[in-house]
C-alpha cells in the first residue's frame, strides 16, 4: 500500500486575476522505504507537488492521501498534527530556527510531539551524533557552515520518526563534496531506519543516487523510472 498518494491532482495559482497552472493531473504513489526524486526543469511543478504531498497546501482539484487518509477532509489543526507525526521536511535554505541551538532545533519537533525531556535529550544527542554534529550541538545556526546547518535540518526532519521525509532542493546551496556527504547520510538513514525520502531537485548527483526518478514537465509526470527497471 502507498504511504503517500496523489490522485489526478491539479493546482492553479490565481495571482491578482492571473491564473497559472502549476500541476495538471498528477498521479503518483509513493511506497514505504522509497528513495525517490522529483526532477525536471524550473517551473515544472516540483515544489508545488511536494507542498501538496506535505499537507502544506491544498490542491485545486484531485486528492492527496497520506496512509489512505484524504488530506482535504482534515482541518488545518489535523493537517498540522499529521505533519508533526508522519512527515519530515528539509528545505533548500535550511530554515533552522536561528534563536535555537542545533540541539534545540532538533528537540523542537519532539517537544511539539510531547516527547518527555529525558528522551528528547537522548534522541537528539543520538541523531546529532549520527549526522556527525555531536560537537556542535550547542552552536546556533549562524555559527555553523551551510553543510552543517543542512545536516541539522536533516536531523530535525527525521528525529520525530516520520514515515516520509520531503526534501526540497536540499543540496542546492551546498558545494558538491558537502552535498555528497549529505546524500550519503540520507541514504544511510533510508536504509537503516526505513524512512521514505522524496526529493525535488535539479542536482544530477541527487538524481543519480535516487532509486526512483519521477520526471515532471509542465505540471505533468512525463517519466517514472525505477532502479533496475521502468
Amino acid at each position: 500500500m502507498a504511504i503517500l498518494e496523489a490522485r489526478e491532482v491539479h493546482k492553479v495559482y490565481d495571482t491578482r486575476g492571473v491564473r497559472t497552472r502549476a500541476l495538471d493531473g498528477v498521479d503518483l504513489a509513493l511506497a514505504e522505504g522509497e528513495f525517490a526524486v522529483l526532477h525536471g526543469p524550473s517551473g515544472c511543478g516540483k515544489t508545488t507537488l511536494l507542498n501538496l504531498l506535505g499537507a502544506l497546501d491544498e490542491p485545486s482539484e484531485g486528492r492527496v492521501l497520506l496512509e489512505g487518509r484524504d488530506l482535504a477532509a482534515l482541518s488545518a489543526g489535523e493537517r498540522a498534527e499529521l505533519r508533526l507525526r508522519k512527515l519530515g521536511f528539509v528545505f533548500q535554505a535550511y530554515n533552522l530556527i536561528p534563536v535555537f541551538t542545533a540541539r534545540e532545533n532538533v528537540e523542537f519537533v519532539m517537544e511539539l510531539q510531547g516527547v518527555p525531556p529525558g528522551e528528547r535529550k537522548e534522541r537528539s544527542d543520538g541523531i546529532l551524533g549520527e549526522v556527525g554534529l555531536a560537537e556542535l550541538a550547542d552552536k546556533r545556526p549562524l555559527e555553523m557552515s551551510g553543510g552543517q546547518q543542512q545536516r541539522v535540518a536533516v536531523a530535525r526532519a527525521i528525529v520525530g520518526r516520520p514515515r516520509v521525509v520531503l526534501a526540497d532542493e536540499p543540496t542546492a546551496n551546498l558545494d558538491s563534496a558537502t552535498a555528497g556527504q549529505l546524500l550519503e547520510l540520507m541514504e544511510e538513514l533510508n536504509r537503516e531506519h526505513g524512512t521514505t525520502f522524496l526529493f525535488s531537485t535539479h542536482d544530477p548527483m541527487v538524481i543519480a543516487k535516487a532509486r526512483r526518478r519521477i520526471r515532471l514537465r509542465d505540471g505533468r509526470v512525463v517519466a517514472d523510472e525505477r532502479e533496475g527497471g521502468a
Binding site: N51, L84, F89, F91, I97, E104, F108, V109, G160
Partner: protein, 433 residues
C-alpha cells in the same frame, strides 16, 4: 445574517482555540524560551519598546503617587487642622448649626461613650459659632471656635502652627487668629480686637480680646476666617452655659474610623449625630473618587498608545519572520501554539518594560522622598488645603493595577499579529522572501 447555530458553533470554535492557546502557554517551556529569545532577536527594537513601556509605567505610577499624595495631604490637612476623624453633634446641628442645637452638660454623654474605646487617640470639646471681629482699622466676619486649649492641641496641629505670639494659655481674653486674617484687619500680636456676636438668647454680645498669637496652616480658608478663644470665654460670650457644639475625636488611624463611628453610634443612640471626616467634608471623598476615575483615563491614554506601539513592532517582527513561521507550521506547530508564541512575545516584552518601569519608579520615589517643592504655587495650593511640599504616596494598587492592565493590553495588542501569523498558509509563508 448569520444564524444563531452558526454563531454558537463559531463561539465554540473560538473558545476551543483560546483553550488550546492557554494549554500551549501553560505546558510548554520551549514556547516560552522561543518567545523570550525572539524578543531579543532585534535587541535595539526590544529596548526601544521596553523603554517606552517603562517610561509610560513610571510616568503613570509617579503621577498617580504625586496626585494621591496631594489628595492625601488635603485630607490630612483638613483632619489635622479642623475636622478630626469623627465629630459628635446634637441631632440636626449639621443642617442648621445654631446655638439651639448643642450638646448639654459639656457633652458628658459623648465623653462617657468615648471612654474605653481602643480606637480613640484623643478628643476635644468645641463651641462653634459666628461673629464679627473688628480692629481699629477694619472688621471681618469670622468663624469662632471656642476650645479647650490643652485638648485642642492634642487633636489638631493648631498649637504647632503658631508663627507669631503664643498659643492660648491660662490668660484671660486672648484669642488666636490666622496670619491672613491679621493682615486683613491690620493687627499684630498684642493688638486689641472686639468680637461681636448674637448670643443664644438673640441678644447682641461683644467682648474685647487681645491677639495672643497668629497661626499659619496649610488651609488658607482657615487662616482667613477662623478665630480661637477659650471654651469658657466662648460659652460666656454666647450665653450657652456649659453646652458645646461638638466633640471632635481623633482615631488611632484613618482605617479605624468606621469602627470608631459604629461604636460611638451604638453607645450614644439616636439623639446625636456621629459623622466621619468624609461625611463632614464630602468634597474630600469626591476628590478621592475623582482621582480614582482620572486614574483610569490616564491608564487608558498610556496603554492605548502602548498597545499601538507593541502591535506595530510585533506586526513588523511577524512580517520579517513570515518564512520562519511557515517553517514551524510545516514542522507541525499548531495554530494555537503560533498564537501563543507571538502573544507571549508581546507579554514578555511588556514585562521587561514593567520591571524597568518599576525600577524607574523606585528611583523616582527615592529622589522625591522629601517631597516636591511647589513653593511658587504655594498660595494656590493653600486654597486647596495643601502645603507647598507634596510627598508622593504610592499604594500597592498603583503597581498591581497598571501591571495587570499592561499585561492584558500586551496580550490584546499581540493577538492581532499572532492571529495573522497563525492564519498564514505554510506553503505561502515558506515562499516569503
Amino acid at each position: 445574517m448569520r444564524r444563531p447555530a452558526e454563531l454558537r458553533a463559531q463561539a465554540r470554535e473560538a473558545a476551543g482555540f483560546t483553550a488550546a492557546v492557554l494549554r500551549a502557554l501553560a505546558g510548554d517551556r520551549f514556547l516560552w524560551r522561543l518567545a523570550w529569545r525572539n524578543v531579543w532577536r532585534n535587541g535595539r527594537r526590544a529596548v526601544i519598546v521596553a523603554t517606552a513601556v517603562a517610561v509610560g509605567i513610571a510616568g503613570v505610577v509617579l503621577s498617580m503617587a504625586i496626585n494621591f499624595g496631594m489628595i492625601l495631604q488635603m485630607i490630612e490637612t483638613a483632619i489635622s487642622t479642623d475636622l478630626g476623624h469623627v465629630q459628635v453633634h446634637a441631632r440636626g446641628f449639621q443642617d442648621d448649626p445654631g446655638l439651639d442645637r448643642l450638646l448639654g452638660d459639656g457633652g458628658r454623654g459623648g465623653i462617657e461613650a468615648l471612654e474605653g474605646l481602643a480606637e480613640v487617640r484623643a478628643w476635644a470639646p468645641r463651641l462653634r459659632s459666628e461673629g464679627l471681629l473688628s480692629s481699629a482699622r477694619a472688621s471681618a466676619g469670622v468663624r469662632v471656635l471656642a476650645v479647650d486649649p490643652a485638648r485642642e492641641a492634642r487633636i489638631t496641629s493648631l498649637a504647632g502652627s503658631i508663627v507669631a505670639g503664643e498659643y492660648l494659655d491660662g490668660a484671660r481674653r486672648r484669642l488666636l487668629m490666622g496670619e491672613a486674617l491679621a493682615e486683613r484687619l491690620h493687627v499684630e500680636v498684642g493688638a486689641k480686637v472686639v468680637l461681636s456676636a448674637t448670643d443664644a438668647r438673640g441678644d447682641l454680645a461683644g467682648e474685647a480680646f487681645r491677639v495672643a498669637g497668629l497661626f499659619r496652616t496649610a488651609s488658607l480658608e482657615l487662616d482667613r476666617s477662623t478665630v480661637y478663644v477659650r471654651l469658657d470665654e466662648g460659652q460666656r460670650l454666647f450665653q450657652v452655659g456649659d453646652t458645646i457644639s461638638e466633640l471632635v475625636v481623633v482615631a488611632r488611624s484613618r482605617e479605624a474610623v468606621p469602627r470608631l463611628k459604629a461604636a460611638l453610634r451604638e453607645r450614644m443612640g439616636g439623639d446625636v449625630e456621629v459623622q466621619s471626616w468624609g461625611e463632614l467634608a464630602p468634597v474630600l471623598e469626591y476628590f478621592v473618587e475623582i482621582f480614582e476615575q482620572m486614574a483610569w483615563i490616564v491608564y487608558a491614554a498610556v496603554f492605548i498608545a502602548m498597545a499601538f506601539g507593541i502591535a506595530n513592532v510585533l506586526l513588523m517582527a511577524v512580517f520579517e519572520r513570515t518564512r520562519e513561521i511557515g517553517v514551524v507550521r510545516a514542522l507541525g506547530m499548531s495554530g494555537p501554539r503560533v498564537v501563543g508564541m507571538v502573544a507571549l512575545e508581546s507579554v514578555l516584552l511588556t514585562l521587561v518594560g514593567l520591571v524597568a518601569g518599576f525600577a524607574l519608579t523606585g528611583l523616582g520615589l527615592v529622589l522625591l522622598r522629601d517631597g516636591i517643592d511647589l513653593s511658587p504655587w504655594a498660595q494656590g495650593l493653600n486654597i486647596m488645603g495643601v502645603g507647598a511640599t507634596i510627598v508622593p504616596v504610592v499604594r500597592l494598587a498603583d503597581f498591581t493595577t497598571p501591571s495587570v492592565v499592561a499585561v492584558l493590553t500586551a496580550l490584546l495588542a499581540g493577538l492581532w499579529p499572532a492571529v495573522r501569523a497563525a492564519r498564514a498558509r505554510p506553503a505561502e509563508a515558506l515562499r516569503h522572501v
